[in-house]
């Protein structure tokens, strides 16, 4: 089973190529190929998960990064550096495989209904499969190079899918924005990889993690911060989060895939995969934690006033990613990965549910919805489950994972960050409840849309129901069976120490109850406030917004976008203008025209030479000389035979005189 793990990324890759090239001739334009590939991947991933749980000895290598199973093949070599492609299965990647394949499978099944009758139906599935394949390549990668390859392929796919409806300029713009913004982060990531490689001389995670930690230590801070840049771009952390709200221009299933299984998860996975580097640098961990904390809070604030249902979800994703990064930053990658896993399920569910709502009422604007619970029964119930999970309602999956992060933060004595995280959790409860109330509760605010709304078909509702199960019970499953998530995801020795230390500290200080209390308080306060405001209208949110226009504007402000526009003006438009001027003055006028003018001058010199020397001196001059000479000599040839005869006689006479010696 483990030996054939390479099939998991390769099958979706093959499926995407088949759909791309032969899709038109296949039923459903080949969409079933992608679904089959993801389905196979899911079965195999679950089999791997179960088998490594039942038989831990299958993970044959016991490296510093915990037990793992590794297979690799040489790809090519450059000098003495062998580049390999490989499969690395450990608890972390096995868990991610299951998450990615399940979400991808459900998103594809859902898309059959959602994209029905839309333009480029087959191509959509080709892209989805390619996206999945890229993420899986990254997840199973055992070396930096392959990891980066999957990473960049995902950047491409996000561009293709966010800009899928490229006929709309906003979608095309959003695609470009996502690509370019994440690319800025990727630059840092790439530099980090290069530095990591030049420092250790190896590309293999386990070789670096087990043999080169010593050589790595002096530059670990720099490397870790550079790698963090990649996460900031890909996982939409402050300050490069700006692409994600715009990415809502993509079709809703794409949002579900990007926000749950691929793309943004990659950034968090990166932090987990490279945790052994981060663990070497206290400073890098602190920066990571603060980036995560600020992102969690800022995005939650932005979500408060958004009226577009997908924008709310987008900001909530950024906020939850902030939580995960925060978990990573306080040195507890298992907590971060746990939240990543549970978040993948409930966020995919939320997006697919939102897609179902949008499909029914043909608008993203929540002010035009309301009361939809009556019409969209399955959608509202399943989204309700996801809502409970994301706000961290007790015994849902989100409750456990969020608490794990809060606990990790608390146990590291980061009390400011703990306050930020707890407050963000409160805000999360508030805005998610607001979203649910505005969408499903109350009286319909747009009777026409409400009248035409109807529940989506089974290809869309079944994925919702399937996703509701792990959203509700995943956390319970882990806890009720006494399985700590750590058992699945064993990380570096140092990280494990951190975790053990943290657990010890928690037990010693009774911190567990404070964390639990904070998280329960956040949920209940958020619920109460949100219900009071949006159900009972006390205080009325509309009047509140009118009373505090400054606050309302501040919450709606996008802060960074105008700043980036300025930045791009400074760094792109100014150089562009300079280069344009340079082009005009130096290249066009200087070089091109100069060469032209020089050519003109040279040809005038040449013409003078031709006229005067060649034609004048040689051609005409020779003719003239011959003429003059001829005229001179012609006088001799009088034509009078007797003159010739006289000359002959004189000549002979002279010769005779000479012969007889008259001249000496």
């Amino acid at each position: 089973m483990l030996e054939h793990a390479y099939l998991i990324p390769l099958l979706p890759l093959a499926a995407s190529l088949l759909i791309l090239f032969f899709g038109k001739r296949l039923p459903l334009e080949g969409a079933f190929l992608g679904i089959l590939a993801a389905g196979w991947g899911l079965i195999q991933s679950i089999a791997i998960l179960v088998s490594i749980y039942v038989h831990p000895e299958l993970l044959t290598n016991a490296g510093a990064s915990g037990p793992f199973f590794e297979m690799s093949w040489d790809w090519f070599s450059v000098g003495f550096t062998r580049l390999e492609v490989g499969v690395l299965i450990d608890g972390m990647s096995a868990m991610m495989l299951a998450v990615v394949t399940l979400v991808s499978l459900l998103v594809q099944i859902y898309s059959v209904g959602y994209q029905h009758g839309k333009e480029r139906f087959g191509r959509f599935f080709a892209y989805l499969s390619f996206f999945t394949a890229a993420m899986l390549i990254l997840v199973v990668s055992n070396n930096l190079f392959q990891f980066f390859m999957g990473w960049e392929l995902m950047g491409l796919c996000s561009y293709l899918l966010i800009g899928f409806e490229f006929e709309r300029p906003a979608a095309a713009y959003a695609g470009r924005k996502a690509f370019i913004t994440t690319r800025i982060g990727d630059l840092g990531f790439y530099l980090g990889l290069l530095l990591l490689f030049t420092t250790t001389g190896s590309l293999n995670f386990n070789i670096i993690g087990s043999e080169h930690l010593g050589t790595l230590a002096p530059v670990a801070t720099l490397i870790a911060l550079l790698l963090l840049c990649g996460t900031i771009g890909k996982s939409a952390q402050v300050p490069l989060h700006v692409w994600l709200p715009d990415a809502m221009e993509g079709p809703t299933p794409v949002s579900a895939l990007i926000h749950a299984a691929t793309m943004v998860a990659a950034g968090v996975f990166l932090l987990a995969r490279f945790h052994f580097v981060f663990a070497l640098s206290e400073m890098a961990l602190t920066v990571t934690a603060w980036v995560g904390g600020i992102t969690a809070l800022g995005a939650a604030l932005s979500a408060l006033t958004a009226t577009d249902i997908k924008k709310v979800l987008a900001y909530s994703t950024i906020s939850q990613l902030g939580f995960m990064v925060l978990g990573m930053g306080v040195g507890d990658p298992t907590a971060g990965l746990f939240h990543l896993t549970t978040h993948a399920y409930f966020k995919a569910l939320l997006f697919l549910g939102a897609g179902s709502v949008i499909h029914a009422v043909h608008t993203n604007e929540m002010p035009l919805m309301g009361g939809l619970a009556k019409k969209l029964v399955f959608t509202s119930i399943t989204m309700g489950v996801a809502w409970l999970a994301i706000i961290g309602f007790p015994f849902t999956s989100g409750f456990y994972s969020k608490e794990a992060i809060l606990g990790a933060v608390y146990n590291r004595h980061q009390y400011v960050l703990f306050g930020i995280a707890a407050f963000s959790a409160f805000l999360t409860t508030f805005y998610m409840t607001r979203m649910m109330i505005l969408t499903f509760y109350g009286t319909p605010r747009d009777a026409h849309r409400f009248g035409h709304a109807h529940e989506s078909g089974p290809s869309m509702t079944i994925p919702l129901m399937v996703l509701a199960v792990p959203s509700a019970f995943l956390g319970l499953l882990f806890h009720s069976h006494g399985l700590s998530f750590d058992k699945w995801v064993q990380l570096t020795g140092k990280a494990a120490e951190h975790t053990a230390h943290a657990a010890e500290a928690a037990a010693g200080h009774g911190g567990h109850y404070i964390v639990l209390g904070a998280s329960l308080a956040a949920v209940s306060l958020g619920l109460v406030l949100s219900i009071a405001m949006y159900v009972f209208k006390t205080p009325d949110p509309a009047r509140l917004a009118a009373a505090l226009p400054g606050v309302y504007r501040l919450l709606n402000d996008r802060f960074f976008d105008p700043f980036y526009v300025k930045i791009s003006e400074i760094f792109c438009f100014l150089p562009a203008r300079f280069l344009s001027a340079f082009d005009y003055i130096v290249i066009d006028q200087g070089a091109v025209d100069g060469v032209g003018r020089l050519g003109g001058m040279l040809s005038r010199v040449h013409r003078w030479w031709d006229d005067v020397v060649v034609d004048g001196v040689f051609v005409n001059g020779l003719g003239w000389a011959a003429q003059k000479l001829g005229a001179g000599v012609r006088a001799l040839q009088s034509g009078a035979a007797q003159a010739y005869l006289l000359a002959t006689a004189v000549g002979v006479f002279a010769l005779v005189l000479w012969a007889v010696g008259v001249f000496g």
Binding site: V633, L636, Q637, G639, A641, Q642, L645, L646, A649
Partner: protein, 102 residues
């Protein structure tokens, strides 16, 4: 020797007259006659020098005969030319003939 000198003198006089005739006569016939005189001056020299310097031999005499034959042929060609020129230009005066003028 006085006999030889006389002949050579006559030859020289004939040569001078011949050259003068060939150069100075305006009529082409006169020019031809002058040339004949030059031939005969040469003949006298051949014969006289042979008779006085190499009495036993006769090569000089033979040369004279040869020159006479040559002169006859020359006269034929020359007269034919004069006749043709006359037919074409209606004149035999040399100053009117400058076809070769460049």
């Amino acid at each position: 020797m006085s006999g030889l000198f006389g002949y050579l003198l006559i030859g020289a006089i004939l040569l001078a007259l011949g050259i003068y005739g060939a150069l100075a006569r305006r009529n082409l016939l006169g020019v031809l006659i002058g040339i004949e005189l030059i031939f005969n001056a040469a003949n006298i020299n051949f014969v006289a020098l042979n008779r006085y310097l190499h009495p036993g031999q006769s090569l000089g005499q033979a040369a004279a005969i040869f020159v006479i034959a040559l002169a006859a042929a020359e006269a034929v060609v020359g007269l034919a030319l004069v006749l043709t020129i006359y037919r074409n230009f209606r004149t035999v005066l040399s100053e009117n003939l400058n076809l070769l003028k460049g």
